[in-house]
């Protein structure tokens, strides 16, 4: 142990923090690979104030401030490390409630981690308590814009009326009317998308202990269509079946109008720290 601390060519990458009593039994388990499996495959359990931080060693040549900044710009490099970070935290979170740390929490000395655990004890314990027996579930909402637009025309009497009128109008008038119809449809589609995501958030919130809206990047497309909303819910394990059933109902109710719902998880509670 002491020897470890003297190696100044490496640093400590910290994944998450949990209660020592709960993490101790995991020591002997087969963990997924650490963030740098080649440089040091071992996991370290750093204890302090009844809490344990799970860490592994990383070479400073790569994880030092300047080196890391350069590496992070390489999207492939970062994506692979992000995946590894996530797998480790997910593995532990399945067993006990832990505070997931943000990607890239790195210490130079083991004693600095111990100090941090001591300093932040209250905050960490209160988060652990809040997360106990709960998991984060993600709900992504996608839409097929063309189908949403179609559904809107059949739903809106005003739009149907206009469409009929356009068919009887002179070519010049019809052109202008069609322009107007297009704008109205796009408007109503936006309203409809907002309404649907609002409804999903509200109904699933009732079955959870927290709800967060994640950022959706502009023009974020996926294999299921445009991404229109990403939500995260903190769900008690005991209530998950109800939560899931409600998500299924919502998916069925909105499938006809071009919406798709995707459930992801369980996640470590990244969005509820």
């Amino acid at each position: 142990m002491k020897q470890e601390d003297k190696r100044s060519d490496s640093a400590y990458y910290v994944y998450c923090v949990g209660e020592s009593a709960m993490l101790e039994p995991l020591r002997e388990r087969d963990f997924p690979p650490p963030i740098e499996p080649e440089s040091d495959p071992k996991f370290l359990f750093v204890n302090g104030a009844g809490l344990t931080a799970v860490a592994s060693r990383v070479p400073l040549a790569v994880y030092g401030e300047d080196a890391l900044r350069a590496r992070l710009e390489d999207a492939t490099w970062t994506a692979v490390r992000a995946m590894r970070h996530e797998r480790v935290v997910e593995f532990i979170a399945r067993e006990t409630s832990v505070v997931p740390l943000r990607f890239g929490t790195i210490y130079l000395e083991r004693s600095n981690i111990e100090e941090m655990l001591d300093d932040k004890r209250e905050e960490l314990l209160s988060i652990i308590e809040r997360l106990r027996d709960r998991e984060e579930w993600g709900v992504n909402l996608y839409c097929d814009r063309a189908r949403v637009l179609d559904a809107i025309v059949s739903l809106s009497p005003r739009l149907r009326e206009l469409t009929d009128e356009a068919e009887r109008a002179t070519p010049g008038q019809a052109y202008l009317m069609r322009k107007k119809i297009e704008a109205m449809r796009a408007d109503e589609a936006r309203t409809e998308i907002k309404r649907v995501s609002g409804e999903i958030e509200e109904r699933l919130s009732r079955l959870s202990d927290g709800a967060v809206r994640l950022r959706v990047l502009k023009d974020e497309a996926s294999e299921h269509g445009d991404t229109v909303a990403k939500l995260a819910f903190l769900v008690a394990r005991a209530r998950f079946e109800d939560f899931r059933a409600e998500a299924e109902r919502l998916a069925d109710e909105h499938a006809g109008a071009g919406f798709r719902l995707e459930l992801t998880g369980p996640w470590p509670a990244y969005n509820f720290t």
Partner: protein, 134 residues
């Protein structure tokens, strides 16, 4: 509605996709200032870059390059995929050589056999056009 044939419309992603992972771990999770300052200020840009990458991976997935989703040891699997790629390319080259060899050898019968359909069609259309002219 008829949509009941789809049974359940809920998609469950297990294991989660890379985009969902990045959404969480790159700018979520408890922030504790460690000894190394990690500037994820450019997270937006980084995330965008990675989205582009994922986009091409999603395409790659259709041809079986989906290792990052299912394996625990990403590097190992990537290397394995790479090795598999090399092997496949070699086998493809071998097959191509064989095809070339075959089509070069007893030309008449084989070549005609392979082009049987279009040849007959062309012949047929010629005949009919002749007939119609008559």
């Amino acid at each position: 509605m008829q949509l009941s044939s789809e049974r359940t419309s809920l998609i469950t992603a297990r294991p989660p996709g890379l985009v969902d992972v990045l959404d969480r771990i790159l700018d979520k999770g408890l922030v504790i200032a460690g000894d190394i300052k990690v500037s994820l200020a450019n997270v937006e840009l980084l995330t965008l870059q990675i989205r582009l990458l994922v986009c091409s991976i999603d395409k790659a997935e259709q041809i079986g390059l989906n290792w990052w989703r299912y394996d625990t040891n990403l590097t190992t699997r990537a290397e394995r995929a790479e090795a598999e790629n090399v092997e496949l390319r070699e086998r493809l080259a071998e097959l191509e050589r064989e095809v070339r060899h075959l089509s070069a050898a007893p030309p008449e019968a084989q070549a005609r056999g392979r082009r049987a359909k279009p040849a007959r069609q062309r012949g047929a259309s010629k005949r009919t056009s002749k007939k119609s002219r008559q």
